[in-house]
Symmetry: C2
Subunit: 423 residues, 2 copies
């Protein structure tokens, strides 16, 4: 019942030095896990031909599956095709199917296939061409002894589409894994990582081997349970029915972490808030100061957010607070712009002015300037005015300007969530 | 004049499967480049003891410098300390200096050092303890034959601080490199990657070896020049004086890309806009629809943005457009909310209502719903009203909702930049 082993090779000097971060391996690992394949390592390499070849040689020996991303573009520093050709002795040639894909995609953008772009249609001999419905570079697949090697573009949307539509079906057919990764994630906020570990430790003395991992970030602490399970047990619709002992563990943890749990699985905080507001048919208006529009930005990342978000205002100046929210200059002078009183007046003001169900406000000091002994950097007040009355809360966040902004936006969304759920 | 070689090992199952992306290696690579050290590869590994040990063994043989990040926490899945101890035969023991660091950091947060947390003070024998001024886990440094191995926490702020204040000074003293990485970056918008390559190709027939790399993203195309140079030439204050031939190349490229160039080096689009507005003493007010607060969020990430940003409004509903911007319902009915006419009315409205120098508006269809044949997803109108008169522009963006929002915010910032610079 051992999972197959995969290596991911992410190619591109920009991933090592140019300020870009590889994000493909996250969804690649998730999709592979569903096929009974465990990612053992990820290697990030520059566009040096020699380094790519040596990694291809090593990974195709040790892994069942090798997923290569990047270096399929048309510029001089795109050398992945060449590296695969050399390593496996499969000379490159322009392939008709690859050229068709390239033409369709380039012409679809109203441009023509230049000789430079045509380089992308050159594919190692014997490789199977993989279609690219999003970008211009076709991918390809070769089998080298025991290793299934897939070469995909580096652009995340293109790589994701190709993985989902082409790589996964091939792997399911070819490998016929007898295992799959059973997993469940809890997203919490407000309880430190070590406290969570201590609370759940007692549950892990049972005989079945479920892995526990904890991940702290500005979004809170994520606790993930996982274990490789025989595929023959994956017959039902729900994970609970597939693995009853695992389901009991999930219920125990859910009960234990209830006050801090804001979602399970992949559901984000903004999605939870969006769902709650939609189900209550509440319209929301935001008055942001130190978060500078970040709360609105996060909520409007959800498709259909126009059904619950009426408007937002970012009142950076005191004049804006007065004109848009009706916050009196006397109040600001008396308590300061960063105070519970002003936060409450902002929430009431935005709710009244926009005639919505829920008014939410945030005011604070994101730094690096503006802090004092009495009101240090990271001090943030939030308030809500709505059908369940009004409330305000004081927070002290740590980190740099961006972190404080993010943590404040996350706390504000959590405050809306709890207000909606009356908890 | 060959640079030293470094490997980066990023440890943590969450980096392979848990949805977190390693971002440390970017600044680590930059700092190492300044010490004459080239990152040859980055390896991302799970918390499996065996995998970490095998990577440590291999990298300490092949690289002059090994930077390990992550796995120094106090939970069960933090095993980096143990792996280093086993690999190099250096048993772990609680060290006084490490315990002092731990106590200072934990108590500074008003908590106490539990036995679980105390695990973080266990350090391999003979290692030099590295202070952590940001978080709780101390780092450490061991020299293994020719390799300098540094073990840092995975949290970016902690790793960055430790690299800068402790690792870099040690490396400068120990390695005494004779090279450094000379580099220069151009940030462009509006010209495709392949067009840029064709334009600059003619400049690269000269005898000196400067590497060119191109990186396309939602922020535009970044072109980076780099080459390893003898350190003895790095005597002057400016890169131009260090390397006159490189400076000529920079000037040629700058001239060639001028219409599309929005910044050079690390300067971001929002910083450029912020600097321009500050130097003109112009106050800005934003009226965002489809970007949902993202423009305001990006501008307020800049410290001191309150000096030029007066306010922003996010008018998702037509009622909000009318109440906050004075956009007449007749106009919206006649042309649609996504039109040049409404964009112009929004820009004029926000400028008038807030009595600022510059009013900027964005209205469009971010998708996935709301598109039609006449007004497809990704269609965005933007307008500016200000001292140089008013203007509007139509854009058609591609990608998913998040990408369209980001591209629109970037185009809007670029439009403000060009308006301010009258170009």
């Amino acid at each position: 019942m051992k999972p197959f082993r995969a290596d991911i090779l992410a190619i591109g000097s920009e991933l090592l030095h140019g300020g870009r971060v590889d994000s493909n391996s996250v969804f690649i690992a998730n999709m592979l896990a569903n096929c009974g394949i465990r990612v053992a390592k990820k290697l990030v390499l520059s566009d040096e031909l020699r380094d790519i070849q040596s990694a291809l040689r090593s990974s195709s020996k040790h892994a069942n599956v090798v997923i290569v991303t990047g270096g399929l573009g048309s510029t001089v520093d795109d050398r992945t095709r060449e590296a695969v050709a050399h390593t496996f002795g499969r000379p490159l040639a322009v392939r008709r199917k690859a050229m068709q894909i390239l033409k369709r995609q380039v012409q679809g953008r109203g441009r023509t296939v230049t000789p430079l772009l045509a380089k992308q249609a050159r594919i190692p001999s014997g490789a199977i061409v993989l279609d690219n419905c999003v970008g211009t570079a076709p991918g390809f697949y070769v089998q080298e002894k025991m290793a299934h090697v897939f070469v995909l573009p580096g652009v995340p949307r293109e790589a994701r589409e190709m993985m989902e539509m082409q790589v996964v079906p091939i792997l399911k057919r070819k490998l016929q894994s007898s295992t799959y990764l059973w997993s469940h994630a809890f997203n919490t906020m407000g309880l430190p990582e070590t406290d969570i570990q201590q609370r759940v430790a007692s549950l892990f003395r049972k005989p079945f081997a479920v892995d526990l991992s904890l991940l702290a970030s500005t979004k809170g602490v994520k606790l993930t349970l996982s274990c490789w399970r025989p595929l023959k047990h994956k017959t039902r619709r729900s994970a609970a029915e597939d693995f009853p002992e695992g389901d009991i563990l999930i219920q125990d943890i859910r009960h234990m972490l209830e006050p801090w749990l804001f979602s399970e699985g992949e559901l984000t905080m903004e999605e939870v808030v969006g769902q709650l507001l939609s189900s209550l048919h509440w319209a929301l208006a935001l008055a942001e100061s130190c978060t500078g529009g970040l709360i609105a930005h996060r909520l409007t990342d959800i498709p259909g957010s126009s059904t619950f978000l009426d408007r937002g205002v970012i009142t950076y100046s005191n004049r804006a607070k007065q004109e848009l929210l009706g916050v009196s200059p006397t109040l600001v002078q008396k308590y300061g712009a960063v105070s519970a009183q002003v936060a409450e007046a902002m929430a009431k003001g935005i709710r009244k002015k926009s005639r919505v169900d829920l008014g939410v406000s945030v005011t604070g000091i994101a730094g690096p300037g503006g802090g004092s002994v009495k009101k240090p950097i990271g001090l943030v007040y939030m308030a809500i005015d709505g059908p369940h009355g009004n409330q305000s809360q004081r927070f002290q966040f740590f980190g740099d300007r961006s972190e404080i902004k993010f943590r404040a936006s996350h706390a504000a969304l959590n405050m809306i969530r709890r207000y909606c759920r009356k908890c």
